[in-house]
């Protein structure tokens, strides 16, 4: 029995290590490729860099007079603002749906949930027309505001806040706290695990978005970095495609997120199961 356990645990490790290598290898290619010269990459794309160099990073940061730094900051700013706003308005509304009785509450909630099935892609056309009439194209607001009313986020916040005992709210009320004070002094701190996980989820979804900014933006300096990265390999197309530069850009958008992920692992992983466990 003991020996059997030994053998099966070794087998399990083999399978898991195999899958782990598969998960890591493309990231490895990305990072090691960013440290190679063009000549080395064309001969050795799969292994460690023989003579690691940071030259690609210098080239990338100087590219198009600092466009990469600019668009990287755009991405961070837009994703953070979007994520923050989404979470705040979803928590406010979630609190009302969880802890107040008001006319039309249940019917409104059900109606909102039904529209959750409608994909955001449907609204690209009308939003484009709307924003071109409002002269909102090529702005930050067009990147931040649409989508902040996220029904999924509202649903999660409500589900979480329902579990907060009423007695806590009553006690605060007797102490003379007004509704908004109760919200940000009691409800928000208690809901923090949910709020932070949700914020991560929203941040990453905006960070990864390309379809929507592609439609709404034409000015390079306002774009998120994700739109610029694929164009890096076209600009030098007179010569051969500068794949080492593309890989450097990919590393730039990946490694910082991986580092944050490794620090706040539990928060990231709990953002995955937000919908699954409670819903």
């Amino acid at each position: 029995m003991k020996i059997n356990d030994r053998i099966s645990s070794i087998l399990i490790h083999i399978v898991l290590i195999l899958f782990s290598l598969l998960a890591i290898y493309p990231v490895f290619i990305m990072v090691s490729g960013s440290l190679k010269t063009a000549t080395e990459l064309s001969a050795n794309a799969s292994g460690f860099p023989m003579a690691p160099t940071l030259e690609n990073y210098v080239r990338l940061f100087n590219f198009d007079s600092g466009l990469i730094v600019r668009t990287f900051s755009n991405s961070i700013f837009v994703a953070a603002a979007y994520s923050g706003l989404t979470v705040i308005i979803a928590s406010l509304a979630g609190f009302a749906f969880a802890k107040y009785k008001f006319f039309g509450r249940d019917i409104l909630f059900v109606m909102l949930l039904i529209t959750m099935m409608i994909p955001a892609e449907l609204n690209m056309t009308p939003l484009y027309l709307m924003f071109s009439k409002l002269h909102w194209l090529n702005t930050y607001k067009v990147q931040i505001f649409p989508g902040i009313a996220n029904v999924f986020a509202l649903f999660l916040m409500r589900q979480y806040m329902v579990t907060i005992p009423d007695s806590l709210i009553e006690a605060a009320r007797i102490d003379g706290a007004r509704d908004f004070k109760i919200f940000y002094r009691i409800i928000m701190p208690i809901s923090m695990p949910s709020i932070s996980a949700l914020a991560i989820l929203q941040f990453l979804s905006k960070w990864n978005e390309i379809l929507y900014p592609k439609i709404m933006l034409t000015k390079k300096e306002i774009m998120p970095i994700m739109i610029i990265l694929p164009t890096l390999n076209e600009l030098d197309s007179a010569r051969s495609v500068p794949w080492e530069l593309v890989l450097t850009g990919c590393t730039l958008v990946t490694v910082p997120i991986i580092i944050v992920f490794l620090i706040f692992q539990d928060k990231f992983l709990s953002s995955v199961t937000l919908g699954a466990v409670k819903g």
Partner: protein, 292 residues
């Protein structure tokens, strides 16, 4: 005093509405109104300027007669089904293995590594896969010392996208299944073992039935997400988001019409996507309900 109290009560009644107001306003402005607008627009011919012309269901009719629509819908379904099966099997297998008592100490080691592909930006991983499967500089071409046209040959090109989707998705569903498995109490499993069930039996007769709600959620969210696929095929197989029609996803129909200022047509294509998602979700719900 009386009046003041009444005023206070009315004020109190307004409180929940004030809390939902920011959400509701942004919802109406950026979701509900555009959705209704796009529905109306789908029955019009509109080029973005001048008068919109009512043309009934012509947009839908011509889209359905348009061969490209069926081709792109077919491609999207191919990407969905071909990645769905390996993703779900591997994710569940990995969750079972990581959950195994024999290697419990290493759970916190494997979990973040297997989740890692999800943390990579979609754009970055798509570009990276383009290099892995590239014909001349590609990793495979170099390792095998030949040039295999993974990205241009009809036989392989769509599979490279499937591999990318699967690579990214496994980590996500692995975490979902793992958290589902931890809700199954050890007592149930122990009771099964005492009753003489082996590992395979207890997996098929206890674990999988208990996980049904989790499977349902995972399958439905995966289907909805897959039908909206855009980034992966466009970046791996195309330059400047124009992959060959034989590999383009459905969203490209909306995008192309939008770029060509065919706003009525683009709206109609959007509503076709909504209908497809709706039908697919109903089928899946029926499948899970029918099992009971």
């Amino acid at each position: 005093m009386q009046i003041q109290k009444k005023a206070g009560r009315t004020q109190q009644k307004m409180v929940p509405y004030l809390f939902i107001l920011p959400f509701l306003i942004s919802y109406i402005l950026f979701f509900l109104y555009p959705a209704i607008y796009s529905f109306v627009l789908s029955f019009y011919k509109y080029k973005g300027y001048g008068e919109a012309k009512f043309i009934g269901i012509s947009n839908y009719a011509s889209l359905f007669q348009y061969e490209t629509l069926w081709k792109c819908l077919g491609n999207t379904f191919f990407y969905f089904i071909a990645s769905f099966i390996p993703t779900m099997i591997f994710a569940f297998l990995l969750a079972m293995l990581v959950r195994s008592k024999l290697i419990q100490r290493f759970q916190s080691f494997y979990k973040p590594i297997l989740f890692l592909p999800q943390i990579c930006a979609v754009v970055a991983s798509a570009l990276c896969f383009k290099i892995i499967f590239g014909e001349r500089v590609g990793v495979f071409s170099q390792l095998l010392n030949t040039q295999i046209p993974f990205l241009t040959d009809d036989r392989y090109m769509k599979w490279t996208v499937v591999i990318l989707i699967t690579w990214r998705a496994i980590g996500w569903y692995f975490i979902i299944y793992l958290s589902g498995l931890t809700t199954i109490s050890d007592e149930i499993m122990e009771a099964a073992t005492i009753d003489g069930a082996n590992n395979v039996q207890s997996t098929f007769f206890i674990t999988i039935p208990l996980m049904k709600p989790i499977f349902m959620l995972a399958f439905i969210t995966n289907a909805i997400g897959s039908l909206k696929i855009f980034t992966e095929p466009n970046l791996v197989l195309g330059i400047n988001y124009d992959p060959p029609m034989k590999a383009a996803p459905f969203i490209n129909i909306i995008l192309n019409n939008l770029n060509g200022s065919q706003f009525g047509m683009a709206s109609a294509a959007g509503w076709i996507l909504v209908m497809v998602i709706f039908i697919l979700t109903l089928i899946q719900l029926k499948f899970f309900k029918g099992e009971e």
